[in-house]
């Protein structure tokens, strides 16, 4: 018995030692392997080793397509640089930055989030306005086809007939219409709220319209892309998003756009800033400069963004 006891005790220690050794070896081998096989990944900002540099950009979800192309352009003119973009609702990017996320550039869909990041002491230079955007109502194609007329209405023969019978903003306040908005904390959600309030205060729509519209809201999404997605899928009937979202390749054929009268609309202002944590501020500034350059502005325009206001009136 005693023999067995000794043996099992020895075995257990051996197992423990082997397990620990295994862990250490694995960890060590991991490091050694990386060093031997791959070229050393320079930490962001280590400008000395010019092999491969990573530029990290935090950008509002609504910038997804435009910034993906800007990144491509930037990589083309800066060999060895790889631009990594984290797209999400600006408010979430802000939270990530406030809690120590490492990034070089922050592009927000509104000034509120940018100022919060600035208030936390995370911004190196004064943010600049690089683009503008407008809000629109997106209506799902399936909703348009259902609501075109009374159920027994004749099918429409010509495009003109169809157009004249299409949905209007007033239809969205009818009972049972499913509307999705972004959360009020999301820039797009906050802008939507402003637009809806303005509609409520206007002669054209009125407070009753606003209340019924808000009563039709079935979901509050965490970023504007989720709003577009639910409308494009036809699960929601309508939603408020940016004009640029309506132009996105997947969305465009699946939705109808209802424009909001200019007097009631909001112009979203997009600021961009160099972050203090950036260890490669020159490269980051070059990316910011690209967004402001004629080339960058052309790309942004191509995706439906408006030019920024003159610098002095950058903040609404």
């Amino acid at each position: 018995m005693s023999q067995g006891y000794q043996f099992s005790r020895a075995t257990s220690y051996a197992l423990g030692v082997i397990a620990l050794a295994g862990i250490i070896l694995a960890a060590h081998a991991g490091c050694a392997g990386t060093a031997a096989i791959e070229p050393p990944l320079s930490p962001p900002g280590n400008a000395g080793s010019a092999h491969q540099r990573d530029l990290t950009v935090f950008a509002a979800a609504s910038l997804t397509q435009a910034f993906a192309q800007l990144a491509e352009t930037f990589e083309g003119t800066h060999p060895g640089v790889s631009v990594n973009i984290n797209f999400d609702g600006s408010q979430r990017l802000r939270t990530q930055l406030e809690h120590g996320a490492q990034a070089d550039v922050f592009a927000s869909a509104d000034w509120e989030q940018m100022e919060a990041v600035g208030a936390a002491g995370l911004i190196e230079r004064r943010p600049v306005n690089f683009a503008g955007n407008r809000l629109v109502f997106l209506v799902s194609s399936s909703f348009s086809s259902i609501r075109k007329g009374p159920p027994d209405a004749p099918t429409y023969q010509t495009a003109a007939e169809e157009k004249s019978a299409s949905v209007t903003l007033k239809d969205l306040a009818r009972p049972g219409v499913k509307i999705v908005l972004a959360l009020p904390e999301v820039p797009a959600g906050r802008y939507s709220q402003v637009v809806i309030n303005r509609m409520g205060n206007s002669q054209l729509f009125g407070p009753d319209y606003r209340n019924r519209l808000l009563g039709n809201v079935v979901s509050r999404e965490t970023n504007v892309r989720s709003v577009t997605q639910k409308v494009a899928l036809g699960e929601a009937d309508a939603g408020i998003a940016y004009r640029t979202d309506a132009l996105a390749a997947y969305t465009a054929p699946r939705i109808q756009v209802l424009t909001i009268p200019d007097a009631l609309n909001v112009t979203a202002r997009y600021p961009i800033a160099l972050l203090r944590e950036s260890a490669q501020s020159e490269l980051a500034q070059a990316f910011i400069d690209l967004t402001l350059s004629a080339e960058g502005q052309a790309i942004l325009e191509q995706y439906g963004f408006e030019p920024p206001l003159p610098a002095t009136t950058g903040k609404p």
Partner: protein, 270 residues
């Protein structure tokens, strides 16, 4: 009191090391939550707001209903899976576990494609005047989809652990199949069933990805606790932490209660 890491157990030191590492790994993030919560002044203010109470109620009600459905449908299903040799059921057996591998957001998309208004069953459902997305029913659907495999898997193993001979003997003694199941199989499989219930319920109440995809996020209607936590996170980490602790505490209480029931069952059964 005996030492849990006594040396006669050949896994002693290795076990102790592993336990320490694992406890630290799980414990530290939870401790961090507690510390963060303790630092804030408005802790109770955060967890007593109306949206929070609505979310808590919705979470409790939906997770209770989905767990109930899982038990009612899952028990006979698991029982058949445990005893059948048919190849069809063996294929089904593997399919049951698919939701475990699917990322929950994908599960949500899949549910939209099946039960959504534009989904496969969409026209049928709308013909009946039913529209599932953005309703509490959708919340339950999402929970069922992701939580059911936990119970079914556990219950199947529980039923398999009951020797078939016991059941045969019981029936040769003239006990009806139903009574055999109720008085022999069920008590013997009870620990596995209860574990399965606890796992399924825990998964249901923490469900997030499929819910936000399929049911949306609206206070009082489809906003469960995890969604409320996520929404709170958009404005204040403090509120989010407070809500997380509330959820954690509730889940802990429920699991402890279940553990006590299990223990009593166990000792009564032996």
């Amino acid at each position: 009191m005996r030492n849990p890491f006594r040396a006669s157990d050949c896994w002693g030191p290795a076990g102790a090391t592993a336990t320490g590492l694992y406890t630290l790994f799980i414990g530290l993030p939870i401790l961090a939550l507690l510390i963060k919560a303790a630092q804030q002044e408005s802790f109770f203010g955060s967890i007593t707001g109306e949206p929070v109470l609505l979310a808590l109620r919705l979470s409790l009600v939906t997770s209770f209903i989905s767990t109930l459905i899982v038990i009612v449908v899952g028990t006979p299903f698991a029982r058949i899976l445990a005893r059948s040799n048919s190849w069809i059921l063996r294929v089904v057996d593997h399919l049951v576990e698919l939701p475990l591998v699917l990322p929950p957001v994908v599960s949500g998309v899949a549910m939209l494609l099946a039960f959504g208004r534009q989904g496969i069953l969409g026209p049928t459902l709308s013909g009946l005047g039913i529209s599932l997305p953005f309703t509490a029913a959708a919340v339950i659907f999402a929970q069922l989809f992701v939580a059911a495999p936990f119970y079914i898997r556990s219950a199947k193993l529980g039923f398999q652990s009951v020797e078939r001979e016991y059941e045969d003997i019981s029936q040769t003694l003239g006990v009806s199949p139903w009574n055999t199941f109720r008085r022999l199989t069920l008590p013997l499989a009870a620990p596995s069933l209860l574990t399965g219930i606890a796992l399924a319920w825990a998964r249901a109440i923490s469900e997030f990805g499929a819910t936000i995809m399929f049911a949306g996020n609206l206070t009082g209607k489809t906003q469960t606790m995890p969604l409320a936590i996520m929404s709170a996170l958009e404005t204040s980490l403090d509120t989010a932490v407070a809500l997380s602790l509330l959820l954690l505490l509730g889940a802990l209480l429920a699991l402890i209660a279940l553990g006590l029931i299990t223990r009593r069952r166990w000792t009564a059964g032996v």
